[in-house]
Amino acid sequence: MDRAMVRFIRYRLLRAGITLLLFQTLLFLMLQAMPGDFVSTLIGLPPPLRRGLRAVMGLNDPLWQQYLRWMRDFFTGHLGTTFRFPHQSVGRILWSLAPRTLFLFLPASVLSIGLGYGLGRYLGGRRRPWDGASLTLTGGAIVAATSFPPWVAFLLVQIFALRLGWFPAENVLRTSRWVGVAVPADTVILWLLGTGALMAGSFYLLGHVTRWHQRRTCLRRVGAIALIGGAVLAWYLSGWGLLALDLLWHLALPLTTVVLLSFGEPMLLMRLATLQVADEDFVRAARAKGLPPQVVRDRHMARLALVPVLARFLIQLPFVMLGSLVVELAFFWKGIGRELLIAIDAHDVPVVMGIFSVVGTLMLLAHVLLDVLHAWLDPRVRTAIAPGMQR
């Protein structure tokens, strides 16, 4: 790692820190400007009690004291104390809600980017005269049909939950199945996520190990069946199988909604990127070498086109979490997005600040990571942005 790189990272981190500070100050001022406060939302309290509550919560302190207190709480990771429940830190609330939000959005992100990648690759690889018009129609139809989030959720609930009754319409789990179960749902969710990550890793390893083998298709199929069977068997033997099934059953509709809402963008980007790569010399060389078109498409074009798609998706990931607040609300999914909306309505300033700050920090980290990766791959970027250099 050379000196320019170190200086670039230091500069980028410093800028991210300043941004975070400004962001929090602005957010704090905006929330303070809201009319009324938490105590004024409680109905039927006698005035002395109101005064007492305000004093206990520190709402009477001057603004700068409240601001400094918030800053201290943020940097110690405690994130302040919520107004609605006694002695409960915002950090604890967020930790307890994080598994459910991740349970919805990690698989949804992976699925939507996978779907967008596959479809975009397919569309980008096809170039026949009539494709233009049909693509316009299908692309426009997909964008149109999935552009209004509450509507997609509403439609899925109406058809698959209320008419057909195949899936539950709301909530994360069926309460009656979990009565008397010692293990908390969040633990099962975390184990499920772990299983998913393990499976993804094993599939990658399987593909990598059998890469040069003569009968790799057969080997991969056998391996895949063994892996899936093993996972199912392990869950069955653990005794939590039915509980996990219940969670997955409830996941089906919200997951479908988020995937439907977010796979269009990667798909169109991927198609454009594949088309742009199609005229590069190395693609022509691969084709001239006599490789089948499918291999050229998958091995040579798609790999290069994936980079911008992944970059855009990484940047949008925290946005996806906040933006699909609508999905959480529509399905009564008790996650962070729904908590944010409830907190806004209740004037629970610490919770709102906490959620925004955590999401903002994650997003800044994603940006820094992306910039550093970019600079690492392209030396021109380092010298162009780092201070003290001629632009």
């Binding site: 941004t19 400004l22 602005l26 316009t136 964008v143 149109a144 209004f148 946005f319 906040l322 309505d345």
Partner: protein
């Protein structure tokens, strides 16, 4: 700068018309514009105000409401007995207002900040970009949810706030990058050597390159603002009296208790209208992005 180059600067506009998505999107936008324009005319000539008024109209002959489509009400009536077609046409006006105002504010703000930062450089650049970095972290729909408690959001104020939040965020950063990439090209130096002032260079050399990208962000902000308006209205967070979002909100509230076929019919038109409106702007944006990435070529 003669007349020829002046005309050449706007060539990209024609190229958008050569792209199927651009044509489709512009046709759709034109259709919605026609819808917004035709409503006052219909109200003044054909439609009886007492029956067809989008807010207080009621048809006593068509009970029970919501009524299915008929010759009197081509799209049926909503649960309160108001004509859906009339509401749909009236809602086009709100959506047009919201979309246009938000889009124009976003484009102007982002272009001004991006070009200023790129041209001035130094401290102005640093300060402006630090500001933009902050606003990138503020997704407009979520901030609007908070501000919905603070202000009485009507169509205009919602659009203005959306434009402000969106224009200060990532569009400004992207436009600055594009403006910067032109600023370092040799012809800018040549223009300066030839005696061109700052305003001349910005107007004739930076802006023609940046404006297609501003238009791109204009279309994206327009559809984003209309969607935000619909989502906020859907959750009952705005003071807008009638828009497509409030139509859906109102119908689906009554829908919970009477999931009748007629209610589905009252729900579909605004949903289809919102989807088509947003995708029209999206299509035009895509067409701009795919046809005019390089206006000097």
């Amino acid at each position: 700068m003669g007349r020829r180059s002046g005309r050449k600067r706007w060539l990209w506009l024609w190229r958008v018309l050569g792209h199927p998505w651009g044509v489709a999107g512009l046709l759709l936008i034109g259709l919605f514009g026609l819808m917004a324009l035709i409503h006052p005319l219909l109200m003044a000539t054909v439609w009886n105000r007492a029956i067809y008024h989008p807010l207080v109209g009621f048809d006593p002959d068509a009970v029970p409401h919501p009524a299915p489509p008929s010759w009197q009400h081509p799209l049926g009536t909503d649960p309160m007995g108001r004509d859906v077609l009339s509401q749909l046409l009236y809602g086009a006006r709100t959506s047009f207002l919201v979309g246009t105002v938000a889009g124009v504010i976003t484009a102007i703000l982002a272009t001004a900040i991006g070009v200023t930062a790129a041209y001035a450089g130094g401290w102005a650049d640093t300060v402006l970009m630090a500001l933009c970095d902050v606003f990138v972290l503020m997704p407009p729909p979520v901030i609007l949810l908070i501000l919905g408690l603070l202000l009485d959001l009507n169509g205009l104020s919602l659009a203005a706030i959306y434009g402000l939040l969106a224009g200060l965020g990532s569009p400004a950063i992207v436009l600055r990058a594009h403006a910067l990439s032109v600023r370092v090209r040799p012809f800018v130096d040549a223009a300066r050597v030839a005696g061109g002032g700052s305003l001349h260079i910005i107007w004739y050399h930076l802006l023609p390159f940046v404006v297609p990208f501003s238009m791109l962000f204009l279309t994206f902000a327009a559809s984003g603002a209309v969607l935000s308006e619909a989502i906020l209205s859907f959750f009952g967070r705005t003071q807008i009296r009638l828009s497509w979002g409030t139509m859906i909100w109102f119908t689906q509230i009554t829908f919970r208790w009477s999931p009748a076929r007629e209610a589905w019919l009252a729900l579909l038109p605004p949903v289809i209208a919102i989807s088509l409106f947003c995708s029209a702007f999206y299509m035009v944006g895509r067409a701009i992005e795919e046809t005019s990435l390089e206006p000097y070529s």
